[in-house]
Amino acid sequence: MSLLVVDNVSVEFKTRDGIVEPLSGISFKIDAGEILGLVGETGSGKSVTAQAIMGLLPFLNGRVSSGRICFRDQDLLAISEDQYQKIRGNHISLISQNPMTSLDPVYKVGDQIVEGLRQHVVIARDDAVKRAVNVMTSLGIPNSEKVFFQYPHQLSGGLKQRIVIAMGLCADPHLLIADEPTTALDVTVQAQIVELFRKTVAQRNIGLIMITHDLGVISNLCDTVVVMYAGHVVEKGRVQEVFANPMHPYTRALLKCIPKFGMPERSLKAIQGNVPSVSTFPGGCRYHLRCPDMKPICMTEAPQTLQAGNGIEVQCHQFGPNWREEL
């Protein structure tokens, strides 16, 4: 039994200019103890995916238009808001990007952890405080009894991020979703937080969905990777396989445009053009405008998801039956 199954999920938003679809038919699944990396550029639909799983899409104009999201064999799209509220925070927690905006500047950080915990678990205040301090200590926060009574502005960025992670972990969730948790941090602190995630997942045997645009973090931390582009999953598979042998032209290009040590001069390769915005997603394959291998079929037909031999799933005509080199 997979912990979470996202099956062919599409999301639509009503806007003034009509209905847009930031997610179209994405699928992936994650098991306990697994770290899944969701990678893509701005506008690829990473954060919308997180919102859809958490049931936090803006309720006035956003909805999951098709597909299934199953958490431990329970269909999250079929349950009531009250039931969802019991899962959200209890069983699935979300850690958002900027630690400063997730913390209220006028309350002590400890009280904020306890408040969240007592929303979800029936527990006496004293016990909640003890549990919060324990979680804080286990996350490597020095003098957690003292830090408990401090305000967010008294803490450094790395400590604030640890507090936010503590809030997410306090209710003992089975699944943690971290939306760009290291983007706002310095590199030396980022390395510490990544290590912390690795340890936490192993100790608690939980699932972690790591949303990031940093392929370096993915390759160091994750077991599987899901590459997203313009609302589609273009490639997914084991991190080792995908990074050693990227199949989709977008994954290949993405790996080539990151500077690395020891790279020969002038060997950086940019991807031409820009990520399309959600109202201007092109027809056919959504990557075709920027793809160097583009063929006429890519403009007209959306590619199907294909199974490659090494467990990689890729969405590209190149590997399909209709591909002709000479076209």
């Binding site: 701005t42 590199v187 030396t188 392929l215 993405l254 790996l255 500077p259 820009n274």
Partner: protein
């Protein structure tokens, strides 16, 4: 090599006030007694974590803020001592590109007018058709289309906005451009486009760059030399190509090892350093890096090490520099062989 910019014992302390009377209770030493040269035609990188004084340094070099002590010589002229008219002349030669292209452009005026302004505030006025021609030429140089000049900033993507900002910086054909994290707000695919554009423009016009970033791998790729800063001090100056040049300062080593490489075969590594950068208000007494350094000895807690040359082109401020670079001749910089 000819120096374009010479920085000598430059310091900038920002006063901190407190209490009822807002009395001065201390100072943040943002830039603390640093000296280096920028050679003509090179790209010099400055890396460091937040709060290390990178951006303050850029502002000091352009004389946007006045230093507490020390001076900056541009082509032999002290930028803090020259008259206002001379400074205006000098400003044409040095430009800056900031991190966030969105806040660098006026949201209420079109790209055309943003660029036009650069020409109209100059003493010798160009004719209208001449300006028009120049603007279209500039847009072409940075890879924007002529129709983009009618656009307003909000109609452009992040990458296009940064291109417009670069076009504006190029308008007066400067010799020297400071790039303060020019790609930090952009996606990786767009970052690569901007980096390639900057390199091509640098070659074409012989521009000297000072490239400020927190991304060591990016600086290593873009620059010929790298300055590593920590808490307002230079800890190391090294030629780029850090895969061959082994870091000599423990901080540079940590910084390099903290960069995640997109290679799943690389061993997952334990973080090499604990804790955060200390506040620049409360600097450690000896070496600035002493609180986080794994090699720290007693002397490091008492005495601050001076920046000294260990071999041609390499400077390090450490009591115990990592000497492997000297043992292995293949690590020597090219001109030292």
């Amino acid at each position: 090599m000819n120096s374009l910019v010479e920085v000598r014992h430059l310091s900038k302390f920002f006063p901190v006030t407190g209490g009822l009377m807002q009395r001065r209770i201390g100072a943040v030493k943002a830039v603390n007694d640093i000296s280096f040269d920028i050679y003509k035609g090179e790209s010099l990188g400055v890396v460091g974590e937040s709060g290390c004084g990178k951006s303050t340094l850029a502002r000091l070099i352009l004389n946007l803020i006045r230093p507490t002590s020390g001076h900056v010589l541009y082509d032999g002229q002290d930028v803090n001592r020259i008259s206002k008219t001379e400074l205006r002349e000098l400003r044409r030669k040095m430009q800056m590109v900031f991190q966030d292209p969105h806040s660098s452009l006026d949201p209420r005026i079109s790209i055309y007018r943003s660029l036009e302004e650069v020409f109209t505030i100059q003493k010798e006025k160009l004719s209208r058709p001449k300006i028009n021609e120049r603007i279209l030429e500039l847009l072409g140089m940075v890879g924007l289309k002529p129709e983009h000049c009618r656009s307003y900033p909000h109609q452009l993507s992040g990458g296009q906005k940064q291109r417009a900002v670069i076009a504006r910086a190029l308008a007066m054909l400067p010799e020297f451009i400071i790039l303060d994290e020019p790609t930090a707000a952009l996606d990786v695919s767009v970052q690569a486009q901007i980096i390639l554009l900057l390199q091509q423009l640098g070659d074409q016009f012989g521009i000297t760059y000072l490239f400020i970033s927190h991304d060591l791998a990016l600086v290593d790729y873009f620059c010929q030399r790298i300055i590593v800063m920590y808490l307002g001090r230079i800890v190391e100056i090294t030629p780029a190509d850090l895969s061959r040049q082994k870091p000599m300062h423990p901080y540079t080593k940590v910084l390099k090892e903290s960069v995640f490489v997109a290679d799943p075969l690389a061993e997952p590594k334990a973080p090499r350093i604990e804790g955060d950068v200390p506040s620049p208000f409360n600097l450690p007494e000896g070496c600035v890096f002493e609180t986080r350094c794994e090699y720290a000895q007693n002397i490091c807690r008492k005495e601050s090490p001076a920046l000294r040359q260990t071999m041609p082109g390499r400077f390090v401020a450490c009591h115990f520099p990592l000497i492997h670079a000297m043992e292995d001749p293949s690590c020597l910089p090219v001109d030292a062989k």
